[in-house]
């Protein structure tokens, strides 16, 4: 089975399970938060960020503005039978974290966010007065 690849800690973030002979450094690395993959795009209205955060429910999502930064955090939770031991784990941390610095033309007070099936969508509108205006060239 895939056991040969890696026997690691439980996916839930419960006490780490260490295979004999495994270097302790590897365990430490497992504690590092996961950087969720994101798509980011901009249109006339503002910037939209979409992040994959499977296993995060609404009450375990922490989205906040700290100074000029947007911080996205989430805690993974899934049902795990008691005494389960990990046979294989691609996902070795139970925390997602990533931050982005915003710029002044964005209206941080009007950020909207939604979470569905582990996908977070954050819409950051631009200040109305700063949205690009098309400048018409007058014909003579």
């Amino acid at each position: 089975m895939a056991t040969q690849t890696e026997v690691t800690r439980r996916g839930s973030g419960a006490a780490a399970q260490q295979a004999p002979g495994q270097a302790p450094q590897r365990q430490q690395a497992a504690e590092a938060p996961i950087r969720p993959p994101v798509d980011i795009w901009e249109n006339k209205e503002g910037i939209t960020l979409r992040a994959d955060m499977p296993g995060v429910s609404k009450d375990r999502l922490n989205l906040r503005i700290d100074g000029n930064n947007l911080i996205v955090e989430g805690q993974v939770q899934f049902e795990l039978p008691e005494n389960a031991e990990a046979l294989y784990a691609d996902v070795r941390s139970s925390l997602y974290r990533r931050s982005f610095s915003l710029s002044g033309e964005l209206e941080t007070g009007k950020i909207e966010a939604s979470l569905k099936d582990g996908v977070l969508t954050v819409r950051i509108p631009k200040r109305a007065e700063l949205r690009p205006r098309k400048i018409e060239v007058q014909g003579s």
Binding site: A2, T5, R10, P37, G55, V56, L80, A84, D117, G118
Partner: protein, 147 residues
């Protein structure tokens, strides 16, 4: 050239992350052979497998998919999951990052030999597909009474 960094500062972290992945790949395969059907870390969807004496649970980290589009099959102890996640690009938008997986995927997971392919359950919650497979009774550890 001209002392101007050609990349935004965040790419330094991208680089470190990539490096970490490579080191992971290198040392992860040290000493113990790679599963013949294993895929590199970062493949979509991520897979975790946990076991107890009674059951084996497979977790697929597959956010934003339609669970009806998933095909899950099990033959003896080989679990095959395939599906797709098509991300349509927004119109009239400029993309800065497109890191999320889009397209078809397929993962093959070999489970312990004693799983019972007749007793499988699957559900989808918060972007995680959980597939629970019961193990055969005969394979479970049993307490032996001394007469």
């Amino acid at each position: 050239m001209f002392g101007i960094p050609s990349n935004p500062p965040s790419s330094v972290f991208d680089e470190l992350w990539r490096l970490q992945q490579e080191v992971d790949e290198l040392f992860g395969s040290w000493g113990s052979p790679l599963g013949i059907r294993s895929q590199p870390r970062g493949s979509f969807p991520g897979v975790n497998v946990g076991q107890t004496p009674e059951r084996v649970d497979v977790y697929l980290f597959a956010p934003g998919i339609d669970p009806k589009s998933l095909e899950i099959s099990i033959q003896q102890n080989l679990l095959v999951v395939s599906g797709k996640r098509d991300l349509a690009a927004e119109e009239e938008a400029n993309y800065y990052r497109q890191e999320r997986f889009s397209g078809e995927f397929r993962r093959v997971i070999s489970l312990p030999e004693d799983v019972d392919p007749e007793r499988v359950q699957a559900k989808y919650t918060d972007g995680i597909v959980q597939i629970g497979v019961q193990r055969r009774e005969s394979a479970r550890p049993r307490q032996i009474q001394i007469q």
